[in-house]
Each structure stands twice: as C-alpha cells, then as structure tokens.
Amino acid sequence: MRKAFAVGRKELRQISRDRRTLLILVFVPAFFLLLYGYALNWDIRHVTLAVQDRDGTPESRALVSAFVNSSYFDRVADAYSPDEIDRLLDLNHARAVLIIPEGFGRDLARRQAPEVQVIINGENANTATTVMGYAANIIRSAGATFAPAAAPSPPPVSVEPRIWYNPELRSTLFLVPGLIAYILMITAVISTAISIVREKEVGTMEQVRMAPIDTFSFVVGKTIPYFLISLASAALIVLAAMLLFELPMRGNWIALLVALSLFIAGALGTGLVISTVADTQQVAFQAAMLSSFLPTLMLSGFIFPISSMPQALQIVTYAVPARYFLIALRGIVLKGTSIWLLLPQMGALIVYAAVMLGLASVRLARESR
C-alpha cells in the first residue's frame, strides 16, 4: 500500500502541474455541459406560430394576443385550411400552430370548456416538450382571466396537445443524465489512458516496471487520483445541471454516489485497457474516443431510445455501461427510485468495472513478461 500511495501522490502532483490534464478533467466537463445543454435548446423563445382563428370573437383574439405577448411565440402566418397548416409545418415556416375552433367565445360564455388545439413540430423532441409546456401555460392562464371569479372550477379552456412527428415525446430533463454520463465517460477514459501511455512514451513506465512494485499497487495508485477527480468533476456537473437546467434531486444522495462511483470505476478500467493496447498518445486518444464517445452517445439510450434500435444493435447496448448508468441516474435523480430497485443496473456496472479492471491488470502484468 505504501507503494500504491507513492504512485498516487506522484500522479496528483503531476496532474496539479499539468495544465492540460487539469483542463480536461475539470473545465472541459463544465464547458461540455454548457455547450450541449444550450445547444439542446432548453430555453426557447420566438417560436414561429401560425394561427387559425375560426372563431373571430374578442375572446379568441384575446387568446392569440396572450400567445404573442408571452414573447415565446412570434405570429408569422395565418392559416385558413388544414392544407395550409400542413404546408406551413412542412416548410418549417411555422413550428407551432394554434387552432381556435368555431364557437370558442360562445362556449366560454356558456361555461362549457371549449377545446383549443395546438400543433407542434415534434422533430426535435426537446424543443417540442418545452414549447408545449409554454402553450399549455398560456392557455391555462388566459382561460383563468376569461372565467368570472366565482365560476365553478372546471378549467375554462382545456388543452389537448397533439404532437406531430414524434408521438413518443421525451422530456428535456431526460437528456441531462445522458449528458452527465457522456461527459464523465469521455473525461475519465481519456485522462487515464493518456496518463499511462504518456509514461510509456517518455520512458518512465519502463523505469517503474524495473521497481519491485506489483501490478495491483500500480493500478490502484494510478487510478485513485483519477477516480477522485472524476467524482469531483461529476459532483460539479450535477450541481451545474441543477442550477442551470433545474435538474431535480428526488432520490438518495448515497445512491447517486454509488452509481457514479461504479460508473467511473468502469470508465477508468476502460482507460487502463486502452493504455495497454496503445503505444502513442494519439492512438490512445482515438481509441478512447471510439470506445467511449460513440457508444455513450448512440447506444446508451441517451439520444436514441434503445427500444427503437434494430435488434442487433440492441444486443450491443448490453455491453455499454452508460445504458445501465442512465437508467440508474434517471431513476435516482428524476423519479427518486430506491437503490434496491436499481440493483440489476448497479450489478451490471459492477460487472463491467470488474471485467475492465481485471483485463487491464492481466494485460499490464503480461506486458512486463
């Protein structure tokens, strides 16, 4: 353990003097979160809106003004027929359509909750949910002003959202855990892989190998600093997501810590394995990108739902740790799922980490022969 400690302390000192690694480990994750977070369009304004007001009463005009005054919507066109609505949406002239049926004002006066239809282009699921939320809010508050103070309670205007192109709409918050997994995986894998391959390149690795230090101590000493830093970086990302993107925390912090730790351990193991294969930093970097970036982005359920993938790809996703981590993270953070219900996911993460760390140890031990 003394020897592992010596390796760990050396590693920390090196990292603290090495701006590049420090940058990758601490700032790049935060930067990624900001970049991707905003690129995924959380805060949407000036959505192009087409209006079909078939009622033409003061009430219907008041609802349209409520949309325009909200500043979330820009009224860009008026539609008079269903064909026109199709055309406006297809050509992307409008991303949302507000349809106020005939008799809207009359129904309001009679206190029969009239129906209003909002059509949203759902190609981008994230935007669509947000836009829908805005629309629902505007309609609800506009409805409240129509209703006389003493009116009986049923909502004066009911919202019947209909989202085109993407019926299986997923929430924006659903994406934040994916983003966390993605960023953690990349930084952890790249930093460990590079740190060892650099030692090979410089030649210090050979010098260390000549010392009577066992592979276990070396691996432990080499990974613990990166483990701690990755954990700190994860905490930073989670906090930032909470502040910037209103990520809730409905579950247990310990459960979150366990999930993060297991996931990071697997990522570090992956980095170690790569370092035993690659001989140059460039190769290591590319291998790390390939093995962490693509699967985490494409095959984890982060962006594309696994259930809609071809069968063969679905099988591949079982080997992607982010798949399990995502379920666990979404469960813990968004739904407050108990850790006991997430045992299968935690188990899978343990297996992945054990396989990677084991493989790395075996390969490192063999390399010295």
């Binding site: 000192r13 410089v202 030649g203 000549m210 009577p212 022969r369």
Partner: protein, 321 residues
Amino acid sequence: MSAAATANAIEVRQLTRRFGQFVAVDDVSFDVRTGEIFGFLGSNGAGKSTTIRMLCGLLQPTSGTATVGGIDVRRNPESVKVRIGYMSQRFSLYELLTVDQNIRFFGGIYGLAEARLAERRRFVIDMAGLAGRETTLARDLAGGWRQRLALGCAILHEPAILFLDEPTGGVDPISRRQFWRLIDALSQAGVTVLVTTHYLDEAERCHRVALIHAGRLAAMGTPTEVKQVFAGRPIVEIRADQAVDAMRLLEAMPAVEKTSLFGTAVHAVLRDPAVSADAVADRLRAQGIQVEAVATVAPSLEDVFLDVIDRANAAARGTAA
C-alpha cells in the same frame, strides 16, 4: 547458495531472445564479476538493451539462462528487481516533479522506509551535486544534473548490481567525465556495474568489455585483451588531403588488409608487421597523394570495434554464399 558465495554477480548462458522471426539476442554467454565495471558495446540495434531488459526481469528470454546476484532471472524476476538498480536508455525522470519529489517517488516504489529514505535522499542530493536545487522541476535541470539525478534514483535502495543503459547519451563531455567518476566510486564500493555505451573512450574505463554485433557476442575481455586482435597487424594512420583517394589507393596495395576513416585521418591495417609506415606513405606519394603525416599507432577500441564488425559481416557473407 547466496549471492556473496559466487564471485560472479551476473552469469549469462546461451541467452537468446527472438521477436517473431527476428533474433535480437543470439546465444550470448558471459560472466560479470562482483564489483566489476562491465562495458557492453555495440552499434544501434545490436541487442544491448534487450539483453539488459532480460537480465532485469523485464523481458522473458526465449531460451538460455541468466542469474543475477545468484538468482535465476527467469524463475524469480521479482526478487531480482529488489537487488538491482536500473537506469533506462532515456534516463527517465518525471519532468513535472521536483528533484525531491522524484527521489521520494522512486524511494516509495522501492518500498524504502521513511528514515532510510531521508538518509538516502541526502546521499543522492550530495552525490549528484543537487544541493539547493531540491525544489527545481526535473524538466528545468540541465542534462548533466538530470543524468546524475536519474542515477541517484536508481541507487536509492543501494542495489548490489547496477544496470546503466547508455547513461551518458546526449550529455556534454565534462558531465560525462563527472558521471564516470561516480561509476568508479560505486565500483570501488563493491557495486557491480553493467553499462552500455557508444562512446569508446568510456569503454576504455571499463574493467572488461563485451562487443555485441547483430545480437551475437563478437569479442570480450579487458580493453587490452580485445586489442590483441591487432597483434601482428600494425595500424598506420595517414593524414592526407584527398583522404578518399588515398583510401582507394591503399586498398589496392597488397600489404594493406583494409582501411577505415577516422575523423580526417585514414587508418590502414597492414597484413605484414615488417612493412613500415614510411614505405606505405612513399607509395602513396608516388601515386600523387599529398601525405601530411604518417605514423604507426596503437589500436583503439574503435579499431577493434570496426574490425570485429567487418569480420562478422564477412563471416555472415561467407555462410550466406
């Protein structure tokens, strides 16, 4: 059988290492006596580093045996590691650590206890002349200091046997001389040193040398002994304006076995000790060469080295034909 019981610190028998079809070290056998400075000479790719890496337990031999400090390297590489010090070809320090932190790190991975480390640290700082630079980053040290620090890190655990793989590569002559003084001191203290080098002036300072060429041991002995290959084959050193023309003409003479270029001078090896240097010079002058100086010289290790390589190549050609 303890390490002290054998007079040989290192015993190598028929050591061979292949990388695929390529034979990097081919049937090499030699002994290194305790306390000896043993020089390992050979051109690039000769197999010096590969041999050292096998002796250090870093690389499994394909066949053959090696004992280091009385321990079979093949069977027990881990116990060998405790007894040896190793300085790799690119004396590798951690650039981003200070002098002191490098020493602590290497002390740490050799498992030195705190008190012993403190004492060895003082010794190393002293030996390397690094007092006052303890907090300098290794990357900011000049070549000579880096090299001595690397040596210091390799002997923190007071190994009885030291492997130095081209320790003086890329270091200025003054630093090289200082470094060799440290090697001499270690040897006097009873440490066995196996050192590889390209500098033949350094090889002269070794107690014994081994010449290795294309993975095979081509010559071995004290520097004086290996020069015996030139017994009965005097070497004439000629300085002339047109060195290349001179070489061509010399090669054509029946008395001359072969020639080689030494800086600006030409060395001609004669077949017959009875032929005088002046006679050779006269024949050159007769053929229009301006000879500035001529003398019979004692063979240097460089002559030996070139001669050994020539013969090995000739032999290889002979077997190929």
